[in-house]
Amino acid sequence: MHEVDMTRCLLQALEDWRDQHPVQPCVEQVHLLVGEFTCVEPSQLRLSFAAAVKDTWLAAAQLSITSVPLVGKCLVCGNSYRPDPACGYASPCCGHPMETILSGRELKIQRIDYS
């Protein structure tokens, strides 16, 4: 379950952020962007995060995950499209392979709400 290791990286980033503050902030919500074309399952990440922050300085923090759809751009017809695994991720209008990915690879800490 690599979401545990993802969580470890997330906690490291949050600790680095905390260390920039003279007084320890109380984190209320951590907003993540998770692309559809990643190996991360949001429910597993939430579970892992909840277990990891229990009884720590992040115990009150909630994880908010926004899923980002996979969007490709066909270099032949120029259209943006939602690649479908059932169609081999190909461009629906001309069948061209998935060349450019416009979104869906995001694994980002977008924002931290705190007091």
Binding site: D5, M6, P97, Y114
Partner: protein
Amino acid sequence: MHMSISDTMNISLLAANDQQAQHNRQQFDAWGLFCINVMSSPGAGKTILLEQTLRALHGTHAMAVLEGDMTTQLDAQRLTGLGVPVVPITTGRACHLDAAMVSTGLSLLRQQCDPASLDLLWVENVGNLVCPAEFAVGEHCKLALLSVTEGEDKPLKYPVMFREADCVLITKVDLLPHVPADLGRMGRHVRQINPHCGVFPVSALTGAGLGDWLAWLGQQLLAQGRHHRNPPQHPGGLQRPSVTVT
């Protein structure tokens, strides 16, 4: 009155790993060595491919291996004796190597040799088609293996791995007479996900296709401006007929 503050971050969730991977890469570049991260599902043939590749490049390229496995050092033991330093990395419960583990492996490697004397560093990742795709270790090149026994649809089922790969080797083609696998279809599925990666069918057992793989590797080294200690001379045993993906 309660007042919340928002800090916009827009940093990678994997920033901690990415920073370590970047540090590893800087070390590789300072040492002048080319690092290849070898990934596949368990049993696709990573270790035997490495055995054959190490044999083929022996004498022309100075190499070392970081050998990742969840448990045991069996693969590392297989590679020991091929004349290159091998550092086992046992990951325990982790199903992939991360940049910190590779950094630890590099420290152990330095006890065996001077990395600056090497041309190539092979990182054999833990057998897994999911997690290793997301965790950079500082590699210059990602190599994914897919065996003919795994089925033609794996690139579509595990697309991130095959999207991330710079090169895909379709392995165990010597088994094609015995398994219902369509090599052309398998290659097309890889290229549906990743149109520009190199795709080469190989058999590490018979040597078929290994010349094509080594030629591709040589091109990557040239493109990177890497210099090997001696001119490349692939042993005759690897000059077998190519197997073509149509």
